[in-house]
Symmetry: C2
Subunit: 357 residues, 2 copies
């Protein structure tokens, strides 16, 4: 990546995304999943751009994953035909929006309790289309999800009997490095269903970290990954990608050099976020790899240059930052800049940004 | 604060602001500054709402503080007449916007280096109005700012001689609990200027933490504070306010109860942010004060209920969260809900949100 392609009229702080790297990242993940016979259903929470969702589908994905109804509404409106919302949908207003959304695309949601299933069923019992539902399984992440294979199979039967709903299978967001346990949990749930003559069409696994070993969850039929399209510092540090695979960079201006070993950049926590992702510091400075972004105030990044050698940055210089976590950064910007291979810069509204509802 | 005032059609996660508490917080700070003869120039980075900026001025503030030109443009457009931007303005595009902005309000900026001053001077030498400039002083925060009183006075003289600029005084964002050192730094800079026959009109101090002792910086003529209007968990924990002084709460829905001691709410790091502010956990749950928001994923808040006694939350319940840091939360929402004393809910666009440039 090279900031010489950033025209003068584009002000910092801004997000610049290298489209060639995006394409490479999409291709690599799709090839891996193709090789193992697993379908791809990328999570759009990372990019929030219909343009990239279409690109993922053109590369071979069967559909997309969203976390919010608002994201799914934007994506369906942009012509995406197959959407999984991996979130318990709770509350009258949201359920009504879900019912409307189901008329515009092939829609699947998840549930991890009878209460959530009852809300879905009451909403879809009188709807024109049935709603597909996956049972969310907690395979160790300790987030949402039923706790055992037996509970998963029990809830599957409950969904199967619920008016307006169609039981479609299981979904998990797995903890890292736990393929064997995840597979056992899901495999057992599938077997329990099959012994009840309940068909399981989908077993949906997810995550970008350690994705290259996700085929070890051998009962999975599809994989959801989000961050892989951009990658970030956390994935470089975990060995899941190289710096050259990072498509998203924050461009920031050096606004102060108060001391020889300190620079201040115009990217703080309202740009890079305070998400540590288990790392020290808040991003990798491409031009000064030994620099440490040691502290963020809201609009100031405080950078320690004491380990840098050679020419140091001057006030007015633009530096590129690979953030710790790409997904939360693109969530802060109303628009991002796509840089194409020929140097052309394209502005994209982050259409799903702010779709918190 | 009570969630019974939230109408059904308002979906979670959302930000609800209690206007009575806002008014009390504004009044208390203004009374304190009036008592000590210090002028008030609130920082709007916390609320980003023209409505509240006007309310702060009606209560007695002489003007406002912004961190970004974009924020100042929105506020000037909304009729705010006196704006200080406490940020080094660097780069051709921003300087041209600053020149246009100076035609619409009384505008002051800061600078901490000759390079920054030169950029301002080149821009304003041919402008219809002079630009007021304060020298930013690093009194221990280790962010921007000149390092000594002597450097401050030297830069003051440089500004005074620069075409198009008017030296107006000094500005600092002080570290906590360091009033004596801050006052010494600024007082010495003022004296050096006065011995050079250079008039110092403004000494601008800032910050909400420990604001009730800021009169100890006795040479300050004005005070900038932002967070005081909403307050937050960090200020409760530091003893600067009480929970009843917190005007901003995130309303979130319980979407899962996977185990007896865990609930999942629909407010994650894309709502509460990962900003720890030196605390453990990511917010205070009003209805369950012993609950611990132990981990945030992007759209999930993972809450440990093991220390709670009595009735525990159910799926579908709405809880109110006082976030660690109010300023970064309102930055994530396109609109917030103001709750008036009579229960009326008013929707406000967060007009300065996304004004990162």
């Amino acid at each position: 990546m090279n900031s010489r392609y950033l025209p003068d009229h584009i002000e910092t702080p801004c997000v610049v995304i290298d489209v060639d790297i995006v394409d490479r990242n999409i291709r690599r993940a799709q090839d891996y999943l193709d090789e193992h016979g697993v379908m791809s259903r990328p999570h759009i929470k990372t990019h929030k751009l219909p343009k990239f969702a279409h690109r993922q589908i053109e590369a071979g994905a069967i559909g997309i994953t969203c976390q919010k109804i608002g994201e799914a509404e934007v994506m369906a409106d942009a012509g995406i035909g197959d959407i999984l919302i991996t979130y318990n949908i709770v509350g009258t207003a949201k359920l009504q929006r879900l019912r409307r959304l189901a008329q515009t695309c092939r829609l699947t949601v998840v549930a991890d309790s009878e209460q959530v299933v009852r809300g879905l069923s009451e909403t879809f019992a009188t709807a024109a289309v049935e709603l597909s539902v996956l049972v969310e399984c907690d395979t160790g992440q300790q987030r949402c999800g039923v706790q055992t294979s037996e509970q998963a199979a029990h809830l599957a039967t409950f969904i199967d009997a619920a008016p307006g709903l169609l039981f479609d299978g299981f979904m998990t967001y797995p903890p890292k490095k736990s393929h064997e346990r995840v597979n056992q949990f899901l495999q057992r749930a599938v077997e329990l269903c099959e012994s009840n003559k309940l068909e399981v069409n989908t077993v949906s696994n997810g995550g970008t970290p350690d994705m290259q070993n996700s085929h070890l969850v051998s009962c999975a039929t599809e994989h959801r990954s989000g961050t892989y399209i951009y990658n970030d510092r956390s994935l470089v540090e975990s060995g899941d990608c190289k710096l050259a695979d990072c498509a998203l960079a924050v461009h920031a201006t050096v606004v102060s050099r108060p001391t020889d070993d300190r620079m201040i950049i115009d990217a703080g926590s309202k740009v890079l976020t305070s998400d540590p992702m288990g790392l020290t510091g808040f991003g990798h400075v491409v031009e000064y790899p030994k620099a440490a972004i040691r502290e963020l105030h809201e609009e100031h990044g405080i950078v320690d240059l004491s380990n840098c050698v050679g020419t140091l940055p001057n006030i007015g210089d633009i530096v590129q930052i690979i953030p710790n976590h790409a997904c939360v950064v693109s969530n802060l910007f109303d628009r991002v800049f796509l840089r194409h291979g020929d140097g052309r810069i394209e502005i994209q509204d982050v259409a799903c940004r702010g779709q918190v509802w």
